[in-house]
């Protein structure tokens, strides 16, 4: 079915899963406010939110099997959108499931915490669908505003307040960059639609146009901040450490996935004609992010901070996919995103399981001898660490993720051999901290007097083992995932040189 996006009712149909989530979230928001704050109410709203996310996942899956497409309009209807939607929705599912138990432990009472995750996810889905810079802005705002609040959810924690304020101020600043970039691109091409911008850039030879260059640069800064790529990563460690752990997991995966998906779509659909201009900056961004993330992570003792730096490094890996500028790169990007999301979620779930009230027990020393008291958690954590590192077999799908990324980098029309070498070398560096976690868990004795971790809630345990199993199983059949992600590359409406309007 081909949607005619100029027709309001067909536009509504094309936005089906997004609308389902938004309307459901509004209803849940009212329900959340209807009763006084309590653990039971928080759990009840959480369960309803899980059901809503599940329903949205089902609808998205149904949409994705229909082979739908659309004409040129404000939103995209392609498999790339559905794939990103699914990753973000799975992230939301995990965040809500983990949050239901984490909130009880940390005495976070507001039931709105789950609703805000839903709103943020709605923003991500809008981002994934956006084929117009205004819609990109709308999605970024909807997502970010909800996340600003979520980071500061724990009102008793000064770290959370610091993280929230830091993220809010820097985020507002980055959004301003993005908005200026949009304005300049609109100013030079006369359009905010990605497809039209792409056509006009090719037709009007904008590569050396100063306003367009400035716009592209500002856009790059804005996106760089949102995906926490070095050197725009300064906020990430503090915010990741201060935020409630489920929200940290959500930010490290779903937020990053959505921002990256938009980044990729804007770059592949609107700015391929500007390739010469943005290739070098992105190359450097990727290299710096990989280098900074992996080396700084070596010295981290707090697991949440360690994972924050690891996520900066992974932004670098994903930027390699963007730098290829090819559809093969975007397939590798989706594949890698799946692997990274699963492993990060699992790792953060283990952090929640080991942690204690007051967001304590996140230090590396608290993991010493974990194998002796919680063997299941230790094995799962080992899988996640190996997967994040890209270790074969035991790292499951993580290895193939890096493999396809390298392949895409080397096969690109402008081969990224040096970048591929940097990727491999920094991965080797990353072994220094990933394997250290494994070593601490298995080879060190449990310190005397160290209390056993508390009983893990069933939902947290579910997330830990589900992600671990998924990583291993998908690692055995990577072809399924790569097939899925190949089908999911953004399908730009055919560029027809004849129909290009003369730029004003």
């Amino acid at each position: 079915m081909i949607f005619d996006l100029a027709n309001p009712s067909q536009l509504m149909q094309a936005l089906g899963p997004d609308l389902l989530l938004i309307v459901g979230a509004i209803v849940l928001m009212l329900w959340a406010a209807w009763r006084p704050e309590s653990d039971e109410h928080q759990r009840a709203v959480g369960r309803a939110s899980l059901a809503l996310v599940a329903a949205t996942i089902a609808m998205t899956l149904w949409y994705s099997t229909r082979g739908m497409s659309s004409n040129v309009g404000v939103i995209a209807v392609d498999n790339f959108r559905w794939a990103t939607d699914l990753i973000c929705l799975l992230g939301a599912f995990g965040a809500i499931a983990l949050g239901m138990e984490y909130n009880v432990r940390e005495r976070i009472l507001p039931a709105e915490s789950h609703v805000l995750v839903l709103f943020a996810t709605a923003g991500m889905m809008i981002l994934a669908a956006a084929r117009d810079l205004m819609i990109v802005f709308l999605g970024i705002e909807l997502m970010s505003v909800a996340i600003y609040v979520l980071v500061g959810l724990n009102r008793r924690s000064p770290k959370a307040a610091e993280g929230s304020l830091k993220y809010f101020l820097l985020g507002a600043f980055a959004t301003a960059f993005l908005l200026y970039g949009i304005a300049l691109i609109y100013g030079s091409t006369g359009s905010t639609n990605l497809t039209e911008i792409g056509q006009r850039v090719v037709a009007g030879n904008f590569v050396a146009h100063p306003m367009m260059l400035a716009g592209t640069g500002l856009l790059l800064v804005g996106f760089g901040f949102k995906v926490a790529a070095a050197p725009f990563h300064m906020w990430a460690p503090d915010v990741y450490e201060g935020a409630p752990t489920p929200i940290t997991a959500f930010m490290a995966t779903a937020v990053k996935a959505a921002a990256f998906a938009t980044f990729l779509r804007v770059w592949l659909e609107a700015l391929p004609g500007m390739g010469d201009a943005w290739f070098t900056p992105i190359w450097w961004l990727a290299a710096v992010a990989m280098f900074v993330g992996n080396t700084v992570a070596l010295s981290q003792r707090n697991l949440k901070r360690l994972l924050a730096y690891s996520s900066i490094a992974h932004s670098g890996y994903l930027l390699v996919a963007v730098a290829t500028g090819t559809l093969g790169g975007s397939a590798a990007f989706l594949f890698y995103l799946v692997a990274y999301t699963l492993a990060s979620y699992g790792a953060f779930a283990v952090v929640i399981a080991v942690g204690r009230e007051g967001d304590a027990n996140n230090d590396l020393s608290d993991y010493e001898g974990l194998w002796h008291v919680r063997p299941g958690l230790a094995i799962a954590m080992a899988v996640f660490m190996l997967s994040l590192m890209g270790f074969p077999i035991f790292g499951g799908i993580g290895f193939f993720g890096k493999w396809y990324l390298l392949m895409a980098a080397i096969e690109a029309p402008r081969p990224l051999t040096t970048l591929a070498v940097v990727l491999v070398l920094t991965s080797v560096v990353s072994a220094g901290y990933y394997l250290n976690v494994v070593r601490v868990m298995f080879m060190k004795a449990r310190p005397d007097g160290a209390a056993d971790p508390e009983r893990t809630g069933s939902l947290t345990r579910g997330v830990v083992y589900a992600t671990a199993v998924a990583i291993l199983v998908l690692g055995l059949v990577p072809s399924r995932v790569i097939g899925w992600s190949r089908a999911g590359v953004p399908r730009a409406p055919q560029i027809q040189a004849a129909s290009v309007d003369a730029p004003r």
Partner: protein, 134 residues
């Protein structure tokens, strides 16, 4: 630029000049005889306790935030209202009226969706007690 704006500038100029003249003239004419007691902030005859610019109730901030949201809604509604006849007509208006059989529910529907979303937020803040003063 529309020439109708020019008289507003004249009026603004006259008003600003008058304000400056009144304040300036009264400053020149008056005789100043300050005394330490006269210089104190008035606090019902008591010696003032500390600085007046203290922290004040968070409710004022909340009202200000809600105002931003609802005022933007109003500002959005005003052009909608002024353009309502065209919005509820499927074809361009003929002589200020919609041709027979061309009425569309687009204008009303859009505003109802907008209002419903805003109303949900309004009910939420009401239920949360943000509109409650004690």
């Amino acid at each position: 630029m529309d020439r109708n704006y020019i008289p507003v500038l004249f009026l603004l100029g006259i008003a600003v000049l008058t304000a400056v003249a009144i304040i300036g003239l009264s400053h020149l004419v008056m005789r100043s005889r300050p005394t330490p007691v006269k210089q104190q902030p008035y606090e019902s005859g008591m010696p003032p306790l500390g600085d007046a610019r203290e922290r004040f109730s968070i409710k004022f901030y909340m009202v200000a935030m809600l105002f931003i949201v609802f005022d933007i809604e109003t500002v959005f509604m005003i052009p909608w209202a002024a353009y309502y006849r065209q919005l509820s007509c499927a074809v361009p208006l003929v002589g200020g009226a919609c041709p027979a059989g061309q009425i569309s529910f687009f204008g009303l529907g859009e505003m109802l969706v907008f209002m419903a979303i805003l109303l949900a937020g309004f009910v939420y803040v009401w239920k949360k007690g943000a509109l409650q003063w004690d």
